[in-house]
């Protein structure tokens, strides 16, 4: 008897799979894609981060403490005074510079070391370098890491050309660093050669210290700090890694969350598949009960089906995710678009714990998705379930209005919570709660809105409305599938669209001139000398020239450096996009600086506050006169009037120039004139403000490329959900179609009826999804974005794109509904009707 029952159970379970392999496959695919994406994103990020950690370790070697200054470096006299301290075993000074490759957009990090000193701090690496280091006494010699050599396509003996200031410097590649010592793309020079060739005489960027055994690092750090020049800090390598990891943490979390969204939609797909599959098998399941299967056993069997789906999907997903991550790392490197790990070429780091977590997530989501209808099915009285027309009743228990409303309210409350440890954890939790709440509200909302649909004269439409009104809970599941994916899509679209629009407007405000001239883009080795500046301003065709100097300074040792921008400031003309209310500097207050939103957030500064900046010979006090929006420098920036800056520091160099073109002159003419006047200034890059804008927006799109990709997958899974629920319903309604055929409806009319149903369901789903998506987008823009990146975004709703997407979704739903109906109706109408008796 038991064996026989077992066989029956197997037949019921396996039969369901066999009958609808496509549907089960879709649900499986949902889980697979969700898990795979999560795994891939996580592994790529973890690998890049791991690589980055290794890089920091290989740079700092066995050092206990690193003294580090701003990009422009600090006076080298700090080196002997630190090296002579009794607690210091060895001190290794270094020059670091990101130098632009001549004729290329990219830059390469050049590290100037004293090999004898570095050997004391990084003995392992230097043991492998014995034959190459003396070659470095040649001031033109440089060693490349193998990855840099591969990247540049250069071999020992070749020439590496870089831009320093505005001139090209040719360096001879004397050899390669030992493989494994430095995996990132770097070049190593002798420190003396680096100081000379990179125009850094008298300055160094870091000192790595090995302390004598028994020295308390933290105590020593405290005694060291007062001895260090202004603007430098002493950090342990671990703190260094921690801080750099923190910089990209928000971005990494955002990607992880998006991957989880895909997983969540996948789980919802399992849920809808299981609900409908259980509905379809309700008579078989009831029979099992009648035959003696206990209620828990039945529930267990149905949950096991979901678990099986989840485990299979998760396993496949983990494998696919690993493969995907390996592929991405191989072809695109460890950087997922945001540029945090741009120079890192990473190997795949398989993190078993993370894989296990995603596997469990996938399986658990699938089990939960299956458990809800399974528990419900177990509770049904077998006698009722054996009757026809019971489908709708089966969903009564899924009536959860109050829970849904409660979850949404809780979610809204959570949006008020501040960032946790610098991460918008509560913001994400709020979105999750609101999504879940909205899904729970769906049956109620569906019933209410279906009641308000007017009756149409056209019979297929009339029938469609009647059908939907009679089965609001089944409809709610279909709508739920649409709402889940569409709302997330809407939210992301609004967020990214708002961001892009804000950036566009910001760029317009920030780029008022016609032409921009930059010395060695994005690096710190490039600058314009005062003579060059005069020369540029005096070029015929230039009516006005404005110069900007940028350099990095350290405000707080535990925070990443902020960028100091010395430029002319005119707060009235809007050349600085202020977000704070106008502020008048009180009499005899220190001079004004304008800080970016990130500086304000990260350093807890407000308008009117005073702050000390390590510029000039002594740290100087300034007043925060305003807060401005800066989409470029995530770690914060501070604007100071260039005249005051020059007065205080004597630093007359500039990194950029904004030029206004005289009437009648073209860009091409001026560009040529500038190149002629500046001579062999290969490092100078001249572009129109339009080009700068296009480039910036292209960079933005590249950053969000991964986001778009994840979003598309979530949408695909959502569409699977819609098609699954339609096809399930169509199958379940075979008898109904038979009856309709018997009373005289044509197949075409039935098809139209199904199309109307699809349109109505999709319209409702899209409507609710839009509303929910707007709400979620508000949280993304106001809470998550602000807490992650510390800049504000103006809300812009891309209505056109949303309308287009909505139409696509409705059309897809109509198509799916009609198509599944047509497939079902291929059979004989008489037989279909007979099936019930």
């Amino acid at each position: 008897m038991l064996a026989w029952l077992g066989a029956t159970i197997q037949a019921v379970s396996a039969g369901a799979l066999r009958d609808n392999p496509g549907r089960s496959a879709l649900a499986l695919l949902g889980v697979v894609l969700g898990v795979a994406l999560g795994v891939a994103v996580h592994l790529v990020n973890a690998s890049a981060l791991n690589e980055f950690t290794l890089a920091v370790h290989s740079l700092s070697g066995e050092s206990d403490l690193t003294i580090r200054g701003p990009r422009a470096g600090f006076d080298e006299s700090a080196y002997p005074s630190v090296a002579r301290l009794a607690q210091v075993h060895s001190a290794s000074p270094a020059v670091e510079s990101d130098a632009q490759l001549a004729g290329r957009r990219e830059s390469i990090r050049i590290i100037g070391l004293d090999p004898f000193r570095a050997a004391q701090v990084q003995p392992r690496m230097f043991a492998a370098m014995e034959n190459t280091v003396t070659g470095l006494f040649d001031p033109d010699a440089v060693l490349l890491s193998p990855s840099a050599a591969e990247w540049l396509g250069l071999n020992p003996g070749d020439t590496l050309r870089i831009t320093v200031g505005t001139a090209t410097v040719a360096l001879k590649i004397a050899g390669l660093l030992p493989p494994g010592a430095y995996r990132q793309r770097i070049a190593v020079m002798d420190i003396a050669a680096a100081q000379w060739r990179l125009q850094r005489l008298g300055r160094i960027n870091r000192i790595d210290l090995r302390l004598r055994p028994g020295t308390d690092v933290e105590n020593f750090r405290r005694t060291l700090l007062p001895l260090l020049p202004a603007g430098t800090e002493a950090v342990t390598p671990d703190a260094d890694i921690e801080r750099s990891a923190e910089l990209s943490r928000s971005y990494r979390l955002n990607l992880d969350m998006l991957a989880l969204v895909a997983l969540f939609t996948g789980a919802f797909l399992v849920f809808s598949t299981q609900v409908l599959s259980i509905l379809r098998r309700r008579t078989q399941l009831a029979l099992l009960r009648v035959l003696g299967l206990t209620r828990p056993a039945l529930t267990g069997m149905l949950v096991a089906e979901g678990a099986l789906l989840g485990m299979l999907g998760s396993t496949l997903g983990v494998v696919l995710g690993c493969a995907l991550a390996a592929w991405v790392l191989k072809h695109f490197g460890g950087d997922l678009g945001a540029g945090y790990f741009r120079s890192v070429s990473a190997d795949l780091q398989i993190a078993p714990a993370a894989l296990a977590a995603y596997w469990l997530f996938g399986t658990a989501f699938a089990i939960v998705g299956a458990a809800v209808p399974a528990i419900e099915a177990g509770r049904r009285a077998p006698a009722l379930a054996l009757r026809a027309g019971d489908e709708e009743e089966g969903l009564n228990r899924l009536h959860t209005t109050w829970a849904g409303a409660g979850l949404i309210a809780a979610g809204l409350l959570l949006t008020l919570a501040p960032a946790l440890n610098g991460l918008p954890v509560f913001g994400y939790a709020a979105i999750a709660l609101i999504l879940l709440g909205a899904l729970l509200l769906m049956p109620r909302l569906t019933t209410l809105s279906l009641r308000r649909v007017p009756a149409w004269r056209f019979p297929p439409a009339m029938l469609a409305v009647a059908q939907l009104q009679a089965t609001p809970r089944q409809v709610a599941i279909s709508i739920g599938a649409i709402v889940t994916s569409f709302s997330l899509m809407v939210a992301m679209l609004i967020m990214v669209g708002s961001f892009r629009q804000s950036l566009d407007e910001w760029l317009t405000g920030m780029l008022p001139a016609d032409i921009y001239l930059r010395a060695a883009r994005g690096t710190d080795a490039g600058f314009l000398t005062p003579e060059q500046q005069e020369n540029i301003a005096a070029t015929p065709g230039v009516v006005r020239a404005r110069f900007m100097r940028s350099r990095n300074i350290l405000l707080a040792p535990e925070r990443p450096p902020v960028t100091l921008l010395a430029r002319p400031v005119d707060t009235t003309s809007g050349n600085l996009p202020l977000v704070s209310a106008p502020f008048t500097l009180p009499a005899n207050a220190p001079p004004a600086v304008w800080i970016s939103e990130a500086t304000a957030d990260l350093h807890g500064l407000h308008v009117g506050d005073e702050l000390r900046l390590p510029i000039g010979a002594h740290p100087t006090m300034f007043t925060v006169a305003g807060i401005w929006r800066d989409y470029v420098r995530q770690t914060g920036s501070i604007v100071i009037d260039r005249e005051s800056y020059i007065r205080m520091t004597g630093d007359r160099l500039a990194n950029e120039a904004a030029l206004w073109l005289a009437a009648g002159n073209t860009f091409a003419e001026l560009e040529q004139a500038l190149h002629l006047r500046l001579g062999a200034a290969a490092g100078i890059e001249i572009s129109t403000s339009r080009q700068v804008r296009i480039e910036s927006l292209a960079l933005f799109d590249r950053t969000f490329a991964v986001t778009y990709a994840l979003e598309i997958v979530a949408v695909l899974i959502g569409l699977f959900g819609v098609s699954v629920s339609f096809s399930a319903q169509a199958l379940a309604r075979r008898r109904e179609f038979g009856v309709l055929r018997h009373i005289g409806m044509t197949r075409r009319e039935i098809g139209m009826m199904l199309g109307c149903e699809g349109a109505l369901v999709a319209a409702l789903g899209v409507g609710f999804g839009l509303a929910l998506g707007c709400l979620v987008s508000l949280i993304l823009v106001q809470v998550i974005n602000r807490q992650s990146f510390h800049w504000s975004i103006d809300l812009h709703v891309p209505w056109l794109a949303l309308a287009a997407l909505a139409s696509v979704l409705v059309v897809a739903a109509i198509g799916t509904a009609t198509w599944s109906g047509r497939r079902v109706m291929t059979g004989d109408a008489v037989r279909a009707v007979r099936e019930d008796w």
Partner: protein, 378 residues
């Protein structure tokens, strides 16, 4: 008269034996030998001073650094008496001036490289202990005074202090703080301190030795400080020119004789193990000095020791005939092998030895054996 001394040989030995530190120099000391023969590489940025025969040595100025010459070293070796028996020590400072094509204004420019190396031979230990420091001159962290003997790398130093030499060597496993006091006048090697180093007259160096230095001071190991005294030998040599490169290895001794005399002898070996060149000098207690012709010096191995770690066989005991003098040398301990394979791949033997005549002790000194593990290549 062609007069050969061991100085540059020792530099070459040193440049091999100290490959662990010299590895970083990548042959700074060694490459000149290769190029120097033909003067292929003129160095416009680095005009090295040349050794001129007839240049008299003046003290104490010539105890200091000669930065215009390519290479220079102060090389102290000796025996110390501890409560548990004799110990050998070796303290060396090298200065080398790299060939720089251009005059880099950077304060870090490697105008001079300074190297400190120290080793301790204690029969109670299983093997030799040693450590080294390398730094470029500058920032007062490393340097060599041109006026008097004062040379230092970080906290390692050897300097003239109140008429005696003071060596402070806080190495990793041991810390020396020694004074070395002269008891005899400097022993000028070669022709009044200008010594030929090969068949070509251009190969020469300035070279003097200070034998019989009365040595006192402390040795600290594992937090325990011992007061020690003994006798040491200092070589000071500087040059810009080169040795022949056809040798496969070298054997060298410097012995403080008990009768107050001093003996230095060396031989360079061919790849086949035969004598390629030899030389040395003997100064009697009365100051009478006898310089050896290459044909007057013979090294005959008496006993070999095989290193259990590397399998290398070293002739650690010798019979040495130098002109009319025949002595035997036996090591303070057999295992004075330096194994630096992990960093550079070089293995050599360098340590304290006793000198005997007819079985009776007549002196103590140092012996260097290189090229036994593998042929040394420059």
């Amino acid at each position: 008269m062609s007069f050969e001394d061991g100085g540059f040989t020792r530099l070459r030995i040193a440049s091999r034996s100290r490959r662990r530190l010299l590895a970083l120099l990548g042959g700074l000391l060694a490459t000149p030998h290769v190029h120097g023969q033909t003067n292929r590489r003129a160095a416009p940025g680095t005009p090295y001073a040349q050794v001129l025969p007839g240049t008299p040595l003046r003290f104490p100025r010539d105890e200091g650094s000669h930065p215009d010459f390519r290479t220079e070293w102060w090389y102290a070796t000796g025996w110390l008496e501890s409560a548990r028996g004799p110990l050998g020590f070796q303290i060396t400072f090298f200065r080398t001036r790299p060939e720089l094509k251009l005059d880099n204004p950077s304060a870090f420019a490697p105008r001079q490289i300074l190297i400190g190396h120290a080793a301790l031979s204690d029969p109670a230990q299983r093997m030799l202990q040693h450590d080294q420091r390398v730094a470029r001159e500058g920032f007062s962290l490393a340097g060599a005074s041109p006026d008097r003997l004062e040379v230092w790398v970080d906290d390692w130093s050897l300097k003239q202090e109140g008429g005696v030499l003071r060596a402070r060597i806080p190495a990793r496993d041991f810390q020396f703080d020694l004074t070395l006091a002269a008891t005899q006048s400097p022993m000028l090697q070669g022709d009044k301190g200008v010594s030929r180093k090969g068949p070509q007259p251009a190969s020469a160096s300035h070279y003097y030795s200070l034998p019989h230095l009365r040595t006192q001071g402390t040795l600290t190991r594992a937090g325990r400080t011992e007061i020690l005294s003994g006798t040491a030998w200092l070589d000071h040599e500087w040059s810009s020119s080169y040795l022949d490169k056809d040798a496969a290895g070298w054997d060298w001794i410097g012995i403080n004789l008990e009768d107050g005399g001093a003996l230095m002898a060396f031989q360079m070996r061919t790849p086949q193990g035969g004598k390629f060149w030899a030389g040395g000098a003997h100064r009697a207690a009365n100051g009478e000095q006898r310089v050896f012709e290459p044909g007057e010096v013979d090294f005959t191995p008496l006993r070999s020791w095989r290193s259990p770690r590397t399998g290398t066989e070293y002739p650690v005991a010798w019979r040495i005939r130098a002109a009319g003098l025949t002595i035997e040398v036996t090591p303070l301990m057999d295992d004075q092998e330096n194994d630096t394979r992990a960093s550079t791949g070089a293995i050599y033997w360098e340590g304290a030895v006793r000198a005997l005549r007819d079985g009776a002790p007549i002196g103590r000194g140092y012996l260097e054996l290189t090229g036994y593990w593998r042929r040394l290549r420059l």
